[in-house]
């Protein structure tokens, strides 16, 4: 426990498992020849947690978020929770190996004890997506 005010609490380790994995899988001193371990026992998803910002998917989500402000202004119905579809933007251009996928899937496994809601949202396709939106999805926008 730290002596702090009400706006920020320092936790012993990152509260999002994504951040934990980012630390211990991507950082740390490397001894090239001897790293052999891979992660298993966890369903691998083909999703990279790090979405690409400049993609049509992102634009459509941003547009939706902005348009949803209208509903709030007009006192509309319940606002659907804004879910960041971490996966829909596709992966980064380069493949880093199985662990990239593992990170994401492990994150889902862990999400029960992860109190962060913005980065653990599983990829979720909006059911109302029009065919136009769907056909717009592509990986060509990746960096």
């Amino acid at each position: 426990m730290t002596q702090q005010g009400g706006y920020l609490q320092r936790t012993p380790h990152p509260s999002s498992l994504y951040d934990v994995l980012d630390l211990i899988l991507d950082k740390g001193l490397v001894i090239d020849l001897y790293v052999r371990v891979s992660l298993v026992g966890i369903e691998l998803l083909t999703i990279d947690a790090r979405i690409v910002i400049a993609s049509v998917d992102t634009y459509l989500r941003f547009a939706e978020a902005v348009n949803r402000l209208d509903l709030a202004e007009t006192g509309g119905k319940d606002l659907p929770e804004f879910i960041e579809d971490l996966g829909e933007g596709g992966g980064r251009g380069k493949t880093k190996g199985a662990l990239d996928g593992a990170k994401e899937s492990i994150k889902d496994v862990f999400s029960g004890d992860d109190d962060d809601d913005s980065e653990k949202a599983p990829a979720r396709r909006r059911s109302r997506s029009s065919s136009g939106e769907r056909s717009s999805r592509g990986k060509d926008d990746n960096e």
Partner: protein, 259 residues
Amino acid sequence: MTAGSPSGAPGTATYVYGVVRASEAPTIDATGVGRGAPVRNLTDGDLTAIVSDVDEGFVEAGREDLERHMAILEHVALSATVVPLRFGTVMPDDGAVTAELLRGRAEELDELLTALDGRVELSLSGTYEERIFGEVVAEQPEVAALRERMRGRDEDATYYDRIRLGELVAQAMAAKRRQDSEQVLAQLRPLADDVRVGDVAHERSVLSASFLVHRDRLPEFDRAAEAVAAENRARIRFRYAGPLPPYDFVGGGEAGPWG
């Protein structure tokens, strides 16, 4: 001298968690990754590797192994300056650890341990609250106009307008991200010995940064981070973690087999 049984037995390999100065070698009562062998110290000269025995064929790790790896390093970091190794580092036996790590990279390890002495890693990341979109609409006339034009119209009919709108929002967000992250870093950088700024992890990320901070300055850094969070409380939610082993400050951008 080394506590526990040195590996070298058939079917056994040595998993390495990190390296500390021998003078700071910790007392560890912990279960290691893989087969759950006790964690032990392997000392050569001035350096001690934190290791445990694993099965020679230890090539598959699960959630529990990740947790143990992290917990062991955090425990070590409580009382010692540690150079953490990347998860999954297995060497053939203790002899290889001694020869190729403790001796083979002694100079590099010594330099790292000196640079990291008494320092810990603090991680701070920020995410925009959804109200950031209201800010964008208020600040960007073109966004507001486009939004008005689309109001009430069928979603299919506004497909390209939506893309255009989203693109404008994305540009505005990128500008905000630059501005806000610079401001946050400007306030915290003076208290840190080193800073690493990570990639933007998702759409509403503001920044993700790791700070190398001397333990003595931890309270000061806490206060500064608190001030940053308080200033931005309406629009950015921060997550703040540590003290962590200095994962971000031991390898540069060196790519591992999966990095």
